[in-house]
């Protein structure tokens, strides 16, 4: 199992700030699994951070990965 963190309006979809799901090989697979569990994610705007870096392409994951789904920022 691996922990995925959610922020902002994404927590309205998941009903939680983090969920534990089975480890996936990479972020594409993980997002596919998450979308099945939370179909509303398909229409949500967000970026993914792995180990505190925003990713722009499919990224390999392991049990030590920190995975965070971030909707558009609205600080300040």
């Amino acid at each position: 199992m691996i922990k995925v963190l959610f922020f902002g309006q994404l927590t309205d979809i998941t009903g939680a700030t983090s969920v534990e799901i089975p480890l996936a090989a990479d972020t594409d697979e993980l997002l596919k699994n998450l979308s099945e569990k939370y179909p509303a994610l398909n229409s949500a705007k967000f970026v993914v951070a792995v180990n505190k870096k925003q990713i722009n392409a499919n990224t390999a994951l392991d049990l030590q990965s920190t995975i965070v789904l971030m909707p558009p920022f609205s600080g300040g």
């Binding site: 922020f7 951070a49 971030m70 920022f73 609205s74 600080g75 300040g76």
Partner: protein, 147 residues
Amino acid sequence: MAEKKVRNIFVKGPIDPSFIGESIGQHQTKTAIGGHSIFLGQVRADEIDGRKVSAIEYTAYEEMALEKMHVIRQDIFDNYPITCMHVYHSLGVVETGQICLFVFTSAPHRKAAIDSCEETVERLKAELPIWGKELFEDASYQWKENK
């Protein structure tokens, strides 16, 4: 001017105006400074579809935000001849009329202070993983979106 330390920028709840006054006063020993530029964000009582904002509740992916802020700080120090920079952002509930953001740059000459302050504000709004939840007086809410 580079610094290694990742500084905390987050404060719980609103930023107190007297804290801002004290921060300014702490620069009186830095006599190479000729100008300070300060930007303050204040929570606005927006009215959206007839509902009035009473507060914004801020959350952040703190670890990543602090690392990103560290990069922004280094970039700004690399690009502007400034003496110092201080940034504070609220977490948790900040009511309308209260201050949620305090950006403070100082430099020997005014242009560097003014330009670096503005650029810091723009960058942190665009790059820091922080989210504002607009709480309405009727207990409903909506997630804030930066323009």
